[in-house]
């Protein structure tokens, strides 16, 4: 075999391996559709998405996942309210304030936080935070939106902090120097020069952090309380989509409508996170800073 033919075969082999990710993504979609779509024989897509009642085991069952979707969105929203400022502040701290040795120490700490298994955080919420919340606020249950949001926030912080830090780090040194030369304080430089310049990266970080929170399973399964209702207060329990799937999959009779409904819920969750990721990708490419020459 000629050398160039061999090189071509090798190249094709590597190309094929690179396509595996796409393939897996495709397979995920195919299998979610295959097992999820049959539910629409039993319920219309509109009633499925916007139905207010999730009573999958009743006769006749109701497969309305709107409370589940709202549950997911609500915990993600509150988690973001906590995680976005903390995450961005942590990024500013690392890139602008920390001395090199502190930085060396603090960055791995953030990474370790990212590495904490979610089941452990869920356990913490269930065994420690929930009883405490119940006592302190004299509420019916500590397994509620507040508890789940706080824990989800800590799972989203590492994503937000590390990607924001990369973005801030990528802001050209000349920008800062120019700003200082104009007599701006460090604070003014950070707020008016660095953060605006890194904004696309920071937005990406925020979106990916939210995607992480919305898809997280064990924490919401163990901590969110599991009531499939539209919540009225931050102390109400909710049943986010991943929790519903994880809790009910085992009990649903194989290939029953309930089983299909759970796969269809997985579809909704998948496309929701996919949308988050595509937006993040778009933002990071569209507004990419390519050095000082772009301005």
């Amino acid at each position: 075999m000629s050398r160039s033919a061999r090189e071509l075969i090798i190249k094709l082999f590597f190309f094929a391996c690179a396509l595996v990710s796409i393939l897996v993504l495709g397979l995920i979609v195919i299998f979610l559709f295959m097992e999820g779509l049959p539910v629409f024989h039993a319920v219309s897509p509109g009633d499925f998405l916007f139905g207010l009642e999730w009573y999958p085991t009743y006769d006749p069952p109701s497969f309305g996942i709107w409370p589940l979707i709202v549950g997911s969105l609500v915990v993600t929203l509150f988690a973001s309210l906590i995680a976005i400022p903390l995450g961005i502040f942590a990024a500013i701290y690392i890139s602008e304030l920390a001395s090199p040795p502190v930085k060396e120490l603090f960055k791995p700490v953030i990474e370790l936080l990212a590495g904490l298994p979610s089941v452990v955080l869920g356990f913490l919420g269930m065994a420690v935070i929930a009883p405490w919340l119940q006592e302190t606020f004299d509420i019916p249950t500590g397994l509620n939106i507040l508890n789940a949001s706080v824990i989800l926030a800590f799972m989203a912080i590492p994503t937000i902090a590390s990607i924001s830090e990369d973005a801030i780090y990528a802001v050209p040194q000349e920008f800062k120097e120019a700003s200082y030369a104009l007599g701006a304080t460090k604070f003014e430089t950070t707020m008016r020069v660095i953060i605006p310049a890194a904004l696309s990266g920071i937005s990406t970080a925020v979106i990916l952090g939210m995607a992480r929170a919305i898809g997280e399973t064990m924490v919401v399964l163990m901590v969110a309380g599991g009531a499939a209702v539209i919540p009225e207060s931050i102390f109400d329990s909710v049943r986010p989509m991943p929790a519903s799937i994880a809790a009910e999959m085992g009990e649903a009779p194989f290939r029953s409508n309930h089983y299909h409904a759970l796969f269809a819920t997985g579809m909704v969750l998948f496309f929701l996170t996919l949308a988050f990721n595509l937006v993040a990708d778009y933002v990071s490419h569209k507004f990419k800073e390519v050095g000082s020459a772009t301005l």
Binding site: E53, W54, Y55, P56, T57, Y58, D59, P67, M126, P131, Q134, P140, T141, G142, L143, L221, M222, G225, G226, A227, A228, V229, S237, R239, A247, E248, M249, G250, E251, A252, P253, F254, R255, S256, H258, Y259
Partner: protein, 272 residues
């Protein structure tokens, strides 16, 4: 690169072979209801001690999961806290599988409240109205003035199904009910909340919560077995056809006096 790839493949394969053939023991795969888990586990432990050449593997995906595994022939025994459903029977026929039912224990479901709660007895009717959200204050049933916090099992659990069938008579649970994923979680929630009511398998009652009488009948082994206590159900193991060999032996062990002792120790109601 080729060396790297082949090395990792070899490493992967040798890791796979590492434990292929480590143990030649016969494995009985048990899958299904989380309610039956403690019984199955205790029995398996004792059985394996007596028969060291048998390996029993137990998972608790849920009743539906267990029956699915039995129909797929990936499990030898399916634990279930309910009988087969229509769809499952149909599927079994299609697959040429004949699930045989073994009753292995009784499970009585008991309403529980906080120990400080003055209420000691509720009728099935009152329980039903409470869970539908039509009785909302403890004073309506003779307790203190306080809003009732209803705690329920997950709508997909076997325990919930019994509650739905025997107490609610297929009425819908108030959506405000807090859904918990396990008996233990309900005990924990009720023990920490003096306005709460929950329901659990009789085996899970402990000193932290107060069991209620239902229709003036106390939940006990005797009342559950005789059918006097209204909220009780049998627990099943399904096998594919009439079992033989070790599977038969294991089920026989479970229904023997020794096995039923274990059922009792785990807090369920033995068959005799």
């Amino acid at each position: 690169m080729s060396t790297l790839v082949s090395r990792s493949i070899i490493a992967g394969l040798s890791f796979l072979f590492l434990f292929a053939g480590v143990s030649l023991a016969e494995t009985i795969v048990v899958n299904g209801s989380t309610t039956v888990l403690p019984i199955a586990q205790a029995a398996a432990e004792a059985y394996m001690k007596q028969n060291p050449d048998v390996n029993i593997s137990i998972s608790g995906g849920g009743s539906g999961n267990g029956i699915k595994a039995l129909l797929d022939k990936t499990a030898d025994i399916a634990n279930s806290s309910r009988f087969l459903k229509d769809g499952e029977i149909k599927m079994a026929c299609e697959k040429g599988i004949f699930p045989v039912t073994h009753r292995i224990a009784m499970d009585a479901i008991v309403p529980i409240v906080h120990p400080s709660n003055a209420v000691t007895n509720l009728s099935v009717e009152q329980l039903s109205l409470m869970y539908q959200g039509k009785i909302t204050n403890w004073k309506e049933v003779g307790g203190i003035d306080g809003k009732i916090v209803i705690i329920s099992r997950d709508s997909s659990s076997g325990t919930f199904e019994v509650w739905q069938e025997k107490v609610l008579h297929d009425a819908k649970v108030a959506p405000r009910a807090l859904m918990q994923a396990s008996n233990g979680a309900i005990v924990q929630a009720v023990s920490e909340n003096k306005y709460a009511i929950g329901y659990i398998g009789i085996g899970y009652v402990n000193a932290e919560v107060k069991p209620l009488r239902v229709n003036d009948i106390e939940a006990s082994a005797k009342t559950a077995l005789s059918g006097v206590y209204p909220i009780a159900r049998p627990l099943f193991m399904f096998t594919n056809g009439w079992p033989s060999g070790n599977i038969m032996d294991f089920i026989n062990f479970l229904v023997s006096p020794e096995g039923q002792d274990m059922v009792k120790k785990e807090g369920f109601v033995p068959l005799y």
